[in-house]
Amino acid sequence: MAARWLKPLAVFSTIALCVVAPRSAAAQASIMGRVTAQDGEPLQQARVLLVGTALSTVTGQDGRYALRNVPVGPQTVRVLRVGYREQKKAATVGTNATVGMDFALERSVVQLEEIVSTATGSRPREELGNSVASINTTKVTEQSVVANLQDVLAARVPGVTVQTGQQTGSGGRVRIRGNSSLNLSNEPIYIIDGIRMTSQTNSSNLFTGGSQPVRVNDLNPEEIENIEIVKGPSAATLYGTDAANGVIVITTKRGRAGATRWTTYGEGGILKDYSDYPYNYTIAGHSPGLATYRECTNSVVAAGTCVRDSVRIYSPLHDPDATPVGTGYRNQIGVNVAGGNEAVRYFLSGEGENETNVLTLPGFERRRMNTQGIPIRDYNNRPNALEKYSTRANINTSPTSQLDLSISSGLVVSNTRFVTESNATAGLGSQIFGGKGYKDNGNVSFSDGTPASPLTGYRAWTPGYTFQELNQQRVTRVITSGSADWRPRSWMQNRATLGVDYTSRMDINLNRKGEGPPLNATYRLGFADDSRSAIRNLTFDLGSTSTWHANTWTALRTTVGTQYVNYYFEANDAFGGRLAPGAQTPNSGSVPSVGTSTTLTKTLGAFVEEQVGMHDRLFVTGALRSDQNSAFGTKFQRVIYPKLSVSWIASDESYFPSLSWLDQLRLRSAYGKSGVQPGSNDALRTFSGITTNYKGADTPAVGYNLIGNDLLRPEQTSEIEAGFDVRFLRRANAELTFYRKNTRDALIDFTIPPSAGTGNGNQGTTVRRNLGAVRNTGFEALVSSQVFDMPAVGLDVTVTYSANNNKLMTMGKDVNGNPLPPVISTTTRAQVGYPLFGFWAQPILGWQDKDGNGILTYNADPALNEVFIGKDTIYRAYSSPRYTATLLPGLDLLDKTLRVVALFEYKGGFKYYNQTERIRCASRNNCNGLMNPNASFEEQAMAVAHLVSPSTTLDGFFQPGAFVRWREMNVTYTIPNTFAARYMRANRASVNFAARNLHLWTKYRGLDPEIAFAAGESPNVPNEFQTMGTPTYFVLRLNLGF
C-alpha cells in the first residue's frame, strides 16, 4: 500500500532537492549577543532577524543568540518579543568578524505575537497586508478550562465563531467570516507544524442522533505553543485549494536552548448542568357530559369539546429520582520537559485525561435494574465519557550553522463513548422531552415478553434502555513531520517538510441481545457494528526563499515552492444483527452485512511569491499559486490563485505628523483568491454494486448512481481586505479590518429533476455544478488596552467585535439560460439576494384574544380568528450569528501574583430554531403553548400557527437567538518562588481555578441558542432538537515547574 505513494514521492523529492542543491559555500561573519529586559532579565524566545536576509534565530533561556553566516557590510538586526517593544540596531560587519550586539528591550503593554507563520515561512507581522490572529495556547491552557482545541478557538478571535458540542468528546463547528459555500464544507482547514492535518467533522460511523467527534479535537492543547488564524483567501492563497474558508495554523511546542525545564500540571473538576429545562404539560379533562378522563389541548378546551379539570406539570429533568443529569468529572495530569543546547533541543510531553459527562443512570432506573438482576455496566451507568492519552516528542537540531532539522511527532490514543441523544427515536432526548405532564404515565411496552417497567414521565422508554446501547470510538492517531531548513547563503533559505497524519479509528455500536429500547421488532434482538477506518493525510512541502538588497532601501524576497497533499480514507464495516446471547461482536449475528468505503483526494500545487520591502516600512507582496487536484473534472486541468498585499507602517515615515499619543500606525490591504475542492467522486459517472433478492434469491446487481460532471472545477473565492493597526498611548492597540469576499463558481448541488430517475438511495439526486456566487462582507475590530499598570495591581481589557453580511448573488442558470429556482427546504431557502441558510416562513403577524378567554385559537373565519398569519413565505432571519463580540477583562492583584480574568461573549443578529419545542408541540402534545392555559400568547400563537392553521408555519419556533454568555472565569495565583522551592521543590508554581459556561443571558425561549444537536457534523443550519444542555465546568489546576 505504502509503495503506491512512496514511489512518486521519491521521484518528486529527488527532483526537488536537486533544485536547491548548494552551489558553493563562503566564509562569512557572525553577530552574537544577548537580549534582556531593561531590568537585565534575560529574555528567551525573542526572535532575532537580520533585516533583508533569510537569517533569523531565537534566543535561548539565557537570552543569548547567534546569527552565523552573516554577509559582510552594513547590517541591521531586529529583535521582536511578545510583550516588548521592537528594537533595531545596525552595524558594519567585516569578513570573518564576530560582532557583538546586545539588546535591552522596553516592556510593552501590548501583547502581540510579532512573528507569524505563513505558507512561505515565519514572517514579521508588520510585513503582511492581511490581518492574522494569534492565540497563545500555552497561556490559555494554563488559565482556562479547555477540554479540546475548539474550546481554545472559541470566543478569542473576531470573525471566528465556534459552536461547540455538548456531549463530552463531541465536536463543534467553526466558521470564519461567514458561510461561502452552499453545498461544500464551510469549515477551515488546519495545518500543524507545516503539514495538512486531518480535520474531519462528523468523524464516526456511529449513529448517536447528532453528537459526533471532530478530528481536530484529538489534539492536546497542552502540546500547542501557538495558533494562528488565517481568515480568508486574501491571506490563504498560498495554502491552495481548500483554503477558502480560512486556515488554522498550529505550531506545537519546541525546546529552547538552556537548562532542562520540567513542567507538570494536574487538574480536577466537576461538570454540572444548570440548564433551565422545560416542563411537560398535560391538560386533564373530560368531554362535556362524560366522566371519562381524557387529555385535551388549549384549542379543544376553547372549542368547548373538552372540559379542563387540571393542568398536570412534570418533567423527569426536575425530579431528582428520575433525572439522568448528575455530576460529571474531569481530570487531567501531564508532564513535559524541554531543554537542550544550540545543537539539539527537545520538547517531550505526556498527558492523561478523562472526563465523564453529567449524564448518569437515574435512581429509579438503578433500582429497577438491580431488582430485575440486570447488570449495570460502566457504560450503562455513565454513558458519555472520554479517556485520552497523548504524548509528543519534538526534536530540533542544528548540525551546522546553515542547517536546522526538526522532527515533530505526536501520538494520541483515545476512547470515547457517546449517548444516543437528540435526533434519534432511540435517543434520550426523544424520551425525556417527550413525556406527559405527569409521572405515572404507564409502562414501557414490549412485545417480546420483557417485563414492563414504569415510564416515570418519559415518553416511550426510560434511560436504562437507551444507555444499554454502546456507541464507542477508539482512536489511535500519529501526527509526525520532519522538516529541514537549510541556508546555504545568508540570502537563501530552503525548506522541506514531509509529514503524515495517520488516524486509526474504530467505531463500535453494540446493543446486546435482550437489551436496549423496544424501538422496533428487531432492536432488542441485538446488533453489533464494528467499523474500522484508516485516515491518512500526507504532505510534502518544498520551498526556497531568496532575498536581495537591491539597494539600501529596497529588499526583495522571492519564494518558490511546491506542495503535495495526499488524503486517503478507507473504512471497513462489519455488522451483525440478531446476536447470540452474550455476544458482543458482529460474528455471531445471524443477519450479517459488510461494507467498505474509500475516499482519495490529491492536490499538487506550486507557487511563486515576490515581496518588495522599502525602507523596512512598506511591503508589497505578490504571488501566484497553481493547483491540480484529483477531484477536478477531466476537462479541467488546473486553477490559478493570485495574491497581492500591501503593508505600510505610515507612522515611520519622516513626513508623518508627530503625534504624542500615537506609537505606531500601520495601514494594510490584501487581495487573494483560494478555493474549495469538490468531493472526491463528484466529477465521476458511476454505477454502484448492490445486492437484491430477485425471485427468491439474493443476487448481485448494478445500479446507476452518479451522472458526474467532467467540467467540475473548484469553488473559487476571492477576497479583498483593508484595515489598520494602531498602537497608542503606549498602552493600547487597536485593529480594524474590512473584508469583502466573493465566491464564484460556487459548487451547487444542482437538483436533477426527479423525473430523470438518476441516483441510488440518497446519492445521485443532484450533480455538482459550478453555478452560484456568494458574497460575504464585514468587518472585525479589536481593542486591547492596559487600563492601568501599577506595581501591585493592573487592569487590562480586550474587546472584539465582528459583523458579517452574507448574500447569495446568483444560483446560476438552467440549460435554457433561465435563472434556476430557489432551493426550498422546510425551514430555509437558497434564494438570490438573501443570506445562505436563512430562515423562511409565513410570518405570525400578531394575535388578539377576541373572546377574552385567555386562549388563542385559529379559525378560518377572519372574524373569529385570533392568530394572524401572513399569506406569503418570506425571509425571516439569519440562522447563524451575524454579530459577535467579546469582552475580556483581566485584573492583577497582590503584586500581580493573583490574576482574575473573565470572558464574556455576545452573539446576535440571528434567530435560532427551537426544534425541541416544535416537536413537543407537533408530536409530543406536551408543550407550554399547546397545553398550558397560562402560557403567554406568544407561545400559544406559535403552537396554534404550526398545528392548527393551514399554514403550519414554523415561524414561532424561529426565536431570537441573541445572547451574552459568561464564557470563562479564571483566577490564577502565582505561588511565591520561595514557597514553591521550599514546600514543593519547584522553581515556579501556580494554582488556577477556572470555570466555563457560567451564565447565559438571552431572550431565546429554548434551552440555549448555542446548543446544536449535530454541531460535530458542522451543520449549516444548527438547531436545538431534543438536545441536552451545555455543562458548566469548575476546575482546579496546579502548575509546577522544575
Binding site: V11, V20, L600, L604, I690, V948
Partner: protein, 480 residues
C-alpha cells in the same frame, strides 16, 4: 551583487522548469501524483458485457421493488405506503412531519418523502431504459432474452401506471438513460397521457412474452394486469375487463425479500417500527374522532387483514403499545412478515378489474358478473401475504341492490383484497373522475387526530424539485 543575482536566477530557473514539468498535462510525475482510483464505484465501462448487462437488468428489478414493498429507509417510503397514507389505508404513528402532511391531505410540493417516492418510480424507467439496450447488445445468446426484456418492460409499464395513478397532472417523463450523463427533459404530461404511455409499454412487453414457459407466462399475465389497471385509469373499463379475464385467478407475480438483501417494508415500517397505523374510521386513541368516508380497515377485523393492538397486561392494567411517536396507540397488521413476498400483480387483481367491467356493463349477478366474481374470490381460500383466507370468515355477499351501493361494495372488497398494494388512491381518484362522486364523499374528511382538519389533496403533488426540469410547471391540474 551581480553574481548573487545570477545565482538566484539560476536557482529560480531550474525550479521553474521542474515545477512546469510537474504541471504539464500528461506529465508522468504529475499524473502519478494525482492519480486517485476509488474502488467503491462501478465504472460505466464495466457494464459493457454480458454479465454487466445482466447486472443492470437485475438492478432495474431492484429499483422496481423499491417502489412497491421493497427495502425501506427513513423517508424512502414508496407510494404504496404514502398513497395509502393519503387515503384511508394507513394513518401516521410517526413523528415525521412529512407523514403528517400526507395523512392530512395537505402535502406541499417540497415534501421530501413524496419527492423520493416520485424519483423512485422514475428510477425504474431510467434503469429499464439502460438495461434493455445493454441486454440487446450483450445477451443475444441468452435464451430468455425476450422474456427478460418483457419483464423489464413490465417494470416500466408498472412505474408509468403507478405515476399516473398517484400523482397529479403534469408528470414529465425525462430521459437520463444515456450513459454519457445527458438528461433529456420531459414535457409535462397529463395522467391520461402517462396511462397511455404505460399501455404502450405493456403492449411492447406483451409482444415479446410469447414463449410458453412458466416464467414467460408469469410475466405475460403481470403485463396484462398492469395494462388493465392503466386502461382503468383511462376509464376504458370494458377493455380492461376483457384483458383481465384472460388472467387466471391463481396467478401471482411477486416481489421477494430476504433479511440480507432487503426486507418487506410494509412489515418493517408499519409493524416493526410502528410508524404507520392500520387505518380506521375512528381515530385519536380514546378521543373517538370520526374520519368521514374511511373504511374501518382496523375495526372491521376482516379475515383478509389481520390487525391488532399489542396489549400487555401489567398488574392487571392493560397497556397498549404506542406507535413510534410514543402517543398514538399502535395498530399493526400481521399481513406481512419480514421476508414475506408481496404480489405486485395477481389473479385477484384481474378478477376485481373484471368485476368492475361487469358492473359497468350492468352484469351484476349473471355469469362472470359482479357478485359471482366477488363471491368466488371470497369463497375460496386464497393466499394473501402470511394469510390464507377462510371462506367461512368471508361469507358470500348479497347484492346491495343499487348501482351506488354495488360500487361501494366492489371498491370496499377491492380495498381489502389489495390492502397497501398501491391501488386504493387510484380507485379514489377514479371514483371522483369517472364515477361522479364528490371528493368530500370519497376521501377522509373531518378533524385530524394530530390537530387541524383534513385538507383537500386528491393525489400526490409533483415535487418542487421537478422545477429543475425547465419544462416542468409542477402540477398542471390538481383535480382527481
Amino acid at each position: 551583487m551581480r553574481n548573487r543575482y545570477s545565482e538566484v536566477g539560476r536557482v529560480l530557473a531550474v525550479a521553474g522548469i521542474i515545477a512546469a514539468a510537474a504541471f504539464v498535462p500528461g506529465c508522468d510525475v504529475s499524473d502519478r501524483l494525482l492519480k486517485a482510483t476509488d474502488p467503491d464505484p462501478v465504472n460505466p465501462n464495466d457494464v459493457q458485457s454480458a454479465d454487466g448487462a445482466e447486472g443492470v437488468r437485475i438492478g432495474a428489478m431492484d429499483r422496481w421493488k423499491r417502489t412497491t414493498g421493497g427495502p425501506y429507509g427513513n423517508g424512502s417510503e414508496s407510494t404504496w405506503m404514502f398513497g395509502g397514507l393519503l387515503v384511508d389505508e394507513w394513518g401516521t404513528g410517526s413523528t415525521f412531519v412529512q407523514n403528517d402532511q400526507v395523512d392530512k391531505r395537505a402535502t406541499p410540493a417540497d415534501n421530501g418523502t413524496v419527492t423520493t417516492a416520485f424519483r423512485a418510480l422514475h428510477r425504474v424507467r431510467t434503469s429499464v431504459n439502460q438495461a434493455i439496450p445493454l441486454m440487446v447488445k450483450w445477451r443475444q445468446n441468452d435464451a430468455a432474452l425476450n422474456t427478460k426484456i418483457a419483464e423489464l418492460l413490465l417494470a416500466r409499464a408498472y412505474a408509468e401506471m403507478q405515476l399516473a395513478s398517484d400523482f397529479c397532472n403534469g408528470i414529465p417523463l425525462s430521459d437520463a438513460s444515456a450513459l454519457d450523463g445527458t438528461i433529456i427533459e420531459g414535457d409535462p404530461m397529463t395522467v391520461d397521457q402517462v396511462f397511455t404511455k404505460s399501455i404502450a409499454t405493456a403492449d411492447s412487453g406483451i409482444g415479446l412474452a410469447i414463449a410458453t414457459d412458466t416464467a414467460t407466462v408469469n410475466v405475460l399475465n403481470a403485463l396484462k394486469v398492469i395494462k388493465s389497471r392503466a386502461l382503468l385509469g383511462l376509464n376504458q373499463v370494458a377493455a380492461a375487463g376483457a384483458l383481465a379475464a384472460t388472467v387466471p385467478t391463481t396467478f401471482v407475480y411477486n416481489h421477494t425479500f430476504s433479511t440480507n438483501a432487503g426486507t418487506n417494508s410494509i412489515w418493517s415500517i408499519a409493524r416493526s417500527n410502528r410508524r404507520y397505523l392500520v387505518g380506521d374510521s375512528i381515530e385519536g386513541n380514546a378521543r373517538n374522532i370520526l374520519v368521514a368516508n374511511a373504511i374501518p380497515f382496523f375495526s372491521a377485523q376482516d379475515n383478509r387483514l389481520p390487525a391488532k393492538y399489542t396489549i400487555a397486561i401489567v398488574g392487571g392494567k392493560p397497556d397498549t403499545t404506542k406507535s413510534q411517536d410514543g402517543l398514538t396507540l399502535s395498530r399493526t397488521t400481521d399481513l406481512y412478515d419480514e421476508t414475506t413476498s408481496i404480489p405486485v400483480a395477481s389473479g385477484i387483481d384481474a378478477r376485481l378489474i373484471e368485476a368492475e367491467a361487469a358492473l359497468a356493463a350492468g352484469n351484476v349477478n349473471g355469469a362472470n358478473g359482479l357478485m359471482p366474481i366477488l363471491n368466488a374470490l371470497r369463497g375460496t381460500a386464497r393466499s394473501l401475504g402470511t394469510v390464507t383466507t377462510s371462506p367461512a370468515a368471508l361469507p358470500a355477499l348479497a347484492d346491495p341492490g343499487t348501482t351506488t351501493l354495488r360500487q361501494n361494495l366492489l371498491f370496499r372488497e377491492w380495498a381489502f383484497w389489495t390492502f397497501s398494494r398501491g391501488q386504493r388512491l387510484g380507485i379514489m381518484r377514479r371514483l371522483v373522475r369517472y364515477y361522479g362522486r364528490a371528493s368530500t364523499s370519497v376521501y377522509p374528511e373531518g378533524p385530524h387526530y394530530r390537530g387541524g382538519v383534513y385538507g383537500t389533496d386528491l393525489q400526490l403533488p409533483i415535487p418542487a424539485d421537478e422545477l429543475y426540469n425547465s419544462k416542468s410547471k409542477g402540477c398542471t391540474d390538481r383535480n382527481a
